[in-house]
């Protein structure tokens, strides 16, 4: 089995797969790739299982040496990759000769670029997943982001490596959206009448401290109806902010748009807390999750409300294309 030597780690590079579902009762969130569509497509190009572990790079990519060579694919955002100085395209497989160096730089487009290799990245799974959960230091490579000098192992792959590229239709599907589609949240009716036009009519900016746990937004503050007869009891999560009085902590899910006291929405992301005490005005539709993974600080977004049925059919369409033969060209 070949190895990858990390010469430069980049800003924040972690091992990710499609995450670990089923342990929220222990407070363990699913985690997984921030842009799962890109990771899956990278693996498909290489003939790996869709959920094989790859490297998720954030805003600034790393430099990697392959002493034994490899077959790789880069997906997601364009980080200006070169292999021994030669430009490497996204969305296509590329052969790495023994000793060659893959160098990535700052992003030219969105937030995250995925490096997938044939055979996947081999790490000891935690609760069935290779995904890194940074906050708790679990999973992935030693439960942390990569550092200079780390050596990663690649998994074994069978059969011949083939040259493949993604169809234009598939690349288009992976393109991140700036208008995020949502369905109503479980507390939508808590908000007063003026709140919805404000939420759906405003442009929000992604805050600087957006990360895999959540994306704080800046823009029009959503007024929270307060009932002052309520003492603050179980309200709020244990997390960074003060809870909203009266709200009883409950399970929260990926893409939930919480409105804390200050009124600035927070979108819960892959490394989310599993429960929370803020009212939720909306929830991203599953078909748009990957777009969240490509949002950079200061990017501007809007929300568009869609019907439940639309959310379902958009997800079905996305998965049909993911499963289709037209996805990949040899």
């Amino acid at each position: 089995m070949g190895v990858i030597r990390v010469r430069e780690s980049g800003l924040f590079t972690t091992v990710q797969d499609l995450g670990r579902e089923g342990f929220a009762f222990l407070g363990v969130s699913a985690s997984g790739a921030a842009d799962a569509i890109s990771l899956r497509l990278g693996n498909r190009l290489l003939g790996n299982a869709e959920g094989a572990a790859g490297l998720e790079m954030t805003l600034l990519g790393g430099t990697f040496i392959f002493p034994q060579g490899a077959t790789g694919a880069l997906t997601g955002s364009d980080f200006g990759a070169t292999l021994d100085g030669e430009r490497v395209d996204l969305w296509t497989t590329f052969a790495v000769k023994p000793g060659q160096t893959l160098r990535l730089g700052p992003t030219c487009s969105g937030a995250r670029c995925y490096l997938c290799v044939r055979g996947g990245i081999a790490v000891e799974p935690f609760l069935g997943s290779a995904s890194t959960h940074i906050l708790s230091g679990l999973g992935g490579f030693e439960g942390r982001a990569l550092r200079k000098g780390d050596v990663l192992h690649m998994g074994a792959a069978s059969g011949l490596a083939r040259e493949r590229r993604l169809s234009a239709r598939a690349v288009k599907m992976a393109e991140p959206r700036r208008v995020l589609r949502v369905t109503p949240g479980p507390q939508s009716d808590w908000f007063d009448e003026a709140s919805e036009p404000l939420f759906y009519g405003s442009t929000y900016r992604v805050a600087e401290d957006a990360n895999r746990m959540g994306l704080r937004l800046e823009g029009a503050a959503i007024p929270m109806p307060r009932d002052d007869t309520w003492p603050e009891e179980t309200g709020g999560n244990a997390g960074p902010s003060r809870g909203t009085g009266g709200m009883v902590s409950e399970g929260v899910t990926l893409g939930a748009v919480q409105v804390p006291d200050g009124g600035m929405p927070i979108i819960l992301f892959v490394e989310q807390q599993t429960t929370g005490g803020y009212p939720k005005i909306a929830n991203l539709i599953s078909a748009d999750f990957h777009s969240l993974g490509q949002l950079r600080p200061r990017d501007e977004i809007r929300f568009e409300r869609v019907a439940w049925e639309t959310a379902r059919s958009l997800l079905s369409e996305q998965e049909e294309l993911m499963a289709s033969e037209e996805l990949i060209f040899e």
């Binding site: 906050l135 708790s136 479980p186 009891e233 709020g236 009883v248 899910t253 990926l254």
Partner: protein, 255 residues
Amino acid sequence: MRYTFANMDIEAGGGARFELASDQSLLVYFARQNRKGRAEARPLQTQITLQANERVRKLLRLLQLEPIEGFRNLHPGYCSLLVKFDALRLRHEEVEAVLRRCLERLDEVILPEPHQVEIPVCYGGEYGPDLAEVCAMHGMTAAKAIEMHAAPEYLVYFLGFVPGFAYLGGLPEALVTPRLATPRRRVLAGSVGIAGHQTGVYPFATPGGWRLLGRTPMAMFRTDRDGLSLLSIGDRVRFTPISAERFAALEKEWE
């Protein structure tokens, strides 16, 4: 208090309310909520909450013993359970129908015997940087506050926020304190905090807004342990005050 327990009705068999949380999740509530969606009872320290939470635990138990195909994750809360499902295979209506059938069987579900867990805590000083302020707010001595915090047997209502974080209910009324106006950017692992009627232990160094009374050398979440989390939903917890010397000794012993 303008809400009374009388207007809470948890029917014998059902009494559950369903709410769509996202295109791949459904929430089941076991306590009725008013117009604004707020539970019509003080959420903690009431018989109502205890009953609702017992139903949460029973439904979780049933779904764990007899897993439903297409159910991907279960997020228990105080009075609710969020079910995340595979939206390509199931629709909300189908998930609700499955859950309704489970609810009819809740009374036969036997919950596992709760573990009684004792957690040693060194209170005050650098271990509990908010103890002095909490005492000042309530006009009590540190000794009294420690005695009160260490007196009850707390119930683990659910685990959430981060791996192994148990929401413990049963904090004495006299210690009920709002959380910090400005949360700390980093709370040390093992910190024991209070917020509202809740208390809990931070398993990892994370941001946090609870007021810190002390710290335990005990690991709340360990990958080399069966069950991973020291505490499970439904467990009973007591805190035992220890000295700084004992804290250092235990920390060394459990390293």
